[in-house]
């Protein structure tokens, strides 16, 4: 009983910590602080995974998200000069609208979840926690396996890599050797008719 109570307390501590840090992520005025708060959100969720008995997932969470992604974000923040440039203060009307929308959703969702009785999963239905069983499930062709989403994810990652490079590519100057002529259209100046050069304001909706 003592053990259970401790776990429950730990759950609430981790949950509240995650929510507070998440609020700090969106409210921080400096990007670096937001990144740091994000790291604590991810750590707290790793703790929640541990409480659920998903040790492998918790390890991966720390390894990939905390160790990889947050570090990358911090690098990016450090490398960009305008590190603490954040958006201007939104107008009061917008802040009010945002507050009303989010608080009403919070109240509504909270009301729904407060009355919700979720059945605890049967002991056998609990997903396997050790790495080898997860690996087997990921590559299982049968109805219990996840080979299709697993392979689709690999395509998704590849698409993200190609896309990331395509967005971040630098079109090389024409006089450099070894550049690809496939970039040729990128080298030509825009030849626009006069009617488009001084474009009047579009009505925005």
């Amino acid at each position: 009983m003592m053990h259970d109570a401790a776990l429950t307390v730990l759950f609430y501590v981790l949950g509240a910590g995650a929510i507070l840090c998440a609020l700090a992520v969106v409210n921080a005025r400096r990007l670096l602080r937001a990144a740091l708060a994000l790291m604590f959100v991810l750590l707290a969720s790793a703790g929640l995974y541990l409480l659920l008995g998903a040790e492998f997932l918790a390890g991966i969470q720390v390894l990939v998200y905390v160790g990889g992604i947050v570090i990358l974000i911090v690098f990016a923040v450090m490398l960009t000069s305008a590190a603490d440039l954040l958006e201007d203060h939104p107008s009061p009307g917008r802040m009010l609208a945002g507050a009303v929308a989010s608080i009403s959703f919070l109240v509504f969702a909270g009301g729904v979840f407060a009355r919700l009785e979720l059945a605890a999963p049967a002991p056998g239905a609990r997903p396997p926690a050790d790495a080898s069983a997860i690996g087997r499930r990921l590559l299982d062709f049968g109805s219990e396996g996840y080979v299709l989403p697993f392979e689709l994810l690999s395509l998704l990652l590849l698409a993200a890599v190609i896309g990331g490079i395509a967005v971040a590519r630098k079109t090389p100057p024409r006089d450099q050797p070894f550049t690809s002529g496939g970039d040729a259209p990128g080298e030509v100046d825009i030849v626009l008719p006069r009617s488009q050069r001084d474009e009047p304001e579009e009505p925005r909706a």
């Binding site: 509504f108 969702a109 009301g111 729904v112 979840f113 009355r115 919700l116 979720l118 059945a119 999963p121 239905a125 062709f141 049968g142 109805s143 219990e144 396996g145 996840y146 080979v147 299709l148 989403p149 689709l152 994810l153 395509l155 998704l156 590849l158 698409a159 993200a160 190609i162 896309g163 990331g164 490079i165 395509a166 967005v167 590519r169 079109t171 690809s180 002529g181 496939g182 970039d183 040729a184 259209p185 990128g186 030509v188 100046d189 825009i190 030849v191 626009l192 008719p193 009617s195 488009q196 474009e199 579009e202 009505p203 925005r204 909706a205």
Partner: protein
Amino acid sequence: MNFWLMLPELVVIATAFAAGGADLLVADRSRRALAAIALGGIAAAFTAALAAPLGGALFGGRFIVDGAARWFKLLFLLAGFLTVVLSKDLLEGRARVRVRGIGFPGEYYTLLLFTLAGMMCLISATDIVTLYVSLELATLPLFVLAAWRRDDARSGEAGLKYVIVGALASAFILYGLGILYGLAGSTALAAIGRAVAPSPAFWLAAALVLAGVGFKLTIVPFHMWAADVYEGAPTPVTAYLSVASKATGLAFLFQLFFRMLLPHLEAWTPLLAILAATTMTLGNVVAIVQSNIKRFMAFSAISQAGYLIMGFMAPGTDGVAAMIFYLLVYIVTNLAVFACIIWYSNETGRERIEEYRGLARTNPLMALAMMVALFSLAGIPPLSGFVGKFFLFSIASAAGCHWLVAVAAVNTTISLYYYLRIVRQMYIEPAEEDAAPLPSGRALAAVIGALAVAVVLLGIVPWFYAQAHAHAALWTAAALR
């Protein structure tokens, strides 16, 4: 295991790799081979999807092929094929108006084919994990494609806005799917549908998913990103977004409503009717005041999405058939309009509606094709748009929403007004003094001609609708059993 069922997807994925790999190998001057590879692959996948057996499952039922899935796949492939043809000139630098920072056909086609693969897996998925991953695969490359004109601030803005809105939509969908999994204890769509009883948490989950899909499908009030993204993205990408992204959203909604919530679908009719009515009304009213043709088409596309979701108001064969048929009509018609827009902007760099004036004097055939397509979008008989709208309106009417039919009819009239604005510029306004006929590439001209003919044929030949209806009937017979 019968992997032939997956052949269309595998062909598309293999083509994506082939296009990306060939980009490394071919010489610069033979770079147009990449488009040929992409077109050949999509055509092969189309044939494979036609030839594949009409029923079957893979991976223990996690991937199914049925009548509805096959129709969606054919539509996705059609949209992809046409988009590659429309993109070719711009990417290979053969447009008369050179645009800075576009090019890289290999990466472009690879990403385009990846989105196709994602869409095709999406409609065949039967569990929420595959469904979500496929949705991401179908949309994530689109963010990049929207920002493809790297040196253009508007294109960058389009990509950034799209990525933020897309992440928000994904968060909504994931939250909703997570609650559904918690309620049902299963990831299989059919099992979730059987296990959950209507309860507040269930409605919350379904509403969250619906909101997330609403972003993809540009349903009001989740439409606000569309105009900026459509305007900033390169025009072929805009064309692809307007049909393929809509088709993806519709496919996801199909999965949600028909494969999962079929027993509870009737409870959704009032909400769907309100969403459809607000979507088509807002899209139409705002389209009237647009002066950039891409923004104009964005709002036109929003209003068309309002018509499309009317098909979900009947949980039977008719609803599925009407929706699939209208999607076919919409893809053909909208791409016909966009093909004309792309041709015109490739040749002149013009994107404003009043700059289309006198097109009928200089290029009568192009103007005719565009007029036919615009009239079909407005729903003038006997063009296909009229037939498609007629079936959808009859669905709404059969569901008892006569007020929605009235709203839709009023909207059709409004839309006729603003589609006529372009026709007026082309036919009634005089051309500029020194206007000369503009040349057109063979591929683009052939596509525009074929699409214009298809717009007419789909309206007067009942075979297509009969086929859609027959396949939908096969599917519903299996699903409702």
